[in-house]
């Protein structure tokens, strides 16, 4: 299964990005890593170009909050991305905040999976569960 990943905005924190890449590969995903400093349009363009089923955005400096607001309107401009699984993880606010407030807010932005300050492997486990559940849903339709 193809996954697009990268760090959103002007964030240049590269360490986690590289580890996400390695971990996804270890789990058998085909990874297209756009690296740090990536804008929303580039993520969606890459999803169209590769036919990826998952988009995993990460953020460390918290600027995802600003970009998150634009996800829905931008994604609506692309015709083929309705089934794209949207995941975001990392440190999702500037300063401090708690997950109870952050997770619903990001779901509202259009993300299926939101991992605020969650261990990498726990986050990827939840992605795999989500993918499995969705397959069962589709089969039952």
């Amino acid at each position: 299964m193809k996954v697009i990943t990268g760090v959103v905005g002007n964030d240049i924190h590269v360490v986690a990005n590289r580890l996400i890449d390695l971990s996804l590969q270890a789990r058998g995903f085909e990874v297209f890593n756009l690296g740090v400093n990536t804008y929303l349009e580039e993520f969606f363009d890459a999803a169209v170009e590769t036919g990826a089923e998952v988009l995993l955005i990460s953020s460390l400096n918290g600027e995802a909050e600003g970009w998150g607001r634009e996800v829905k309107s931008l994604k609506a401009k692309y015709k083929t991305l309705d089934d794209l699984i949207m995941m975001i993880g990392g440190n999702l606010v500037v300063g401090t905040g708690n997950a109870e407030d952050i997770v619903p807010r990001y779901k509202n932005y259009g993300f299926d999976l939101v991992c605020h300050q969650i261990d990498l492997n726990t986050g990827l486990d939840s992605l795999e569960v989500f993918i499995k559940d969705r397959k069962i849903q589709k089969r039952n339709k």
Partner: protein, 454 residues
Amino acid sequence: MSLLQEERKIILSNEYVDAFDFAEVAEFVKNASKDLFISHHFKTKNKMLVQPRGGFPTYKKQFALNEFFVEANVDVLPLTIDSNTRLNDYATAKKMLRLSEENDVDMLNGYPLVNHGYRTTRKMITHFNKPVSLRHGTPDARLLIETAIASGIFEIEGGPITYLLPYSKNFPLDKAFLYWKYVERVCANYSELNEPINRESFGPLTATLVPPCITIVIQLLEMMLSLEEGVKSFSVSFSQTGSMNQDIVMGAVIKKLAKHYAAEIDCSDASINLVYHQWMGAFPMNKDYAEQLINMSTVIAAMVGADKIITKTREEASGIPTKEANAKTVANTQYTLGILNGLPNVVDEQEEEILTLEVKAIMEAVFNDSADTLWRKVFNSIKNGIIDVPFSPHIINHNQMITVRDAKKNIRIIKRANVPIPDRCYEYEKAQCDLAKDTTSIVNDIVHDIGIMQ
């Protein structure tokens, strides 16, 4: 008009620049106090020079910081440049400088040297009469370096590889080589007037599990690129790895090979110095622990035999340090260096041999590239992964090499990718590690290995 002069004219046609009076600048450099030249201190001083980091937006605050440093018995003053200037965005730097001056709040993470100009800055530098080291991170530093030397700053840090691969995603690497070639020439030309201008490479790179052979290769290549333009004083550097033995081995090998490769290009007359960076990775939040870590770094620097040490502060984990905390590290480091006597002589012949073979193999692969000039050979070698820097954000970097720590916390290569590590060395590196683990556990180990000091 020579090409260099034509280029100079283009760089200076910029509304934010001082009107340069080059005849006056040359006269200034020619008659400048020897005390301003770190190359002079390297030659005459019998101790490890201590240099902190630091830069504030306003002249007033920078001046006050320097006063604190001098009070703490500093050997070399730093001048760290703000990030707008590093990206040649002098308009934003100007606006932020004005806001900082008017509101007494720092709106820049360093000193905007180009906006302050050389006439103003020179007053501060000559007032303190200490060598100043320019710290920046600029791919196109041509104007910055002209301004720095005219100000009396006679040590320039950086280089086309070490200031690009850790800091940028897509600034073109070939352009960086050409811009730095200009910097080397300017430094070489001014070096003929008085003591030499010292160039220093930035060895820490990403400061994240970079194996010694990659660090050393890049140090040697930037040294050669600088010496071949006529620079006569150069510092190679690296940062604390996390293993004292690995640091000592690195120090021994880099000193030996720097001499060797300088001689290869008939530049044995240049003096080569060694700089050691205190731990550059993530720091503990606990400030007392941070001081312990800093102190340990100083001890290792002494074991390595560094000519200069660059310090951190107890506030590293929480942001830009106060001048008080910064000066405190300088005083503490001087104290530790003063009482460190009777150090043992540690030599690990096997590790030195392995590392030397690795470095020589990579250097040879670079030289064997078919391009006609050294910078093009290096460019191609980075492009095709012969040189691969772990955790570089730059798109040209391969990012295929994988490193972990062994049981003694040495950084080891477990996947060499395109880097031509000789088989014997590769087997040795892997033999030190537990390779039976699956990738998920290796990733967990890497996370742990990066944060060992926290």
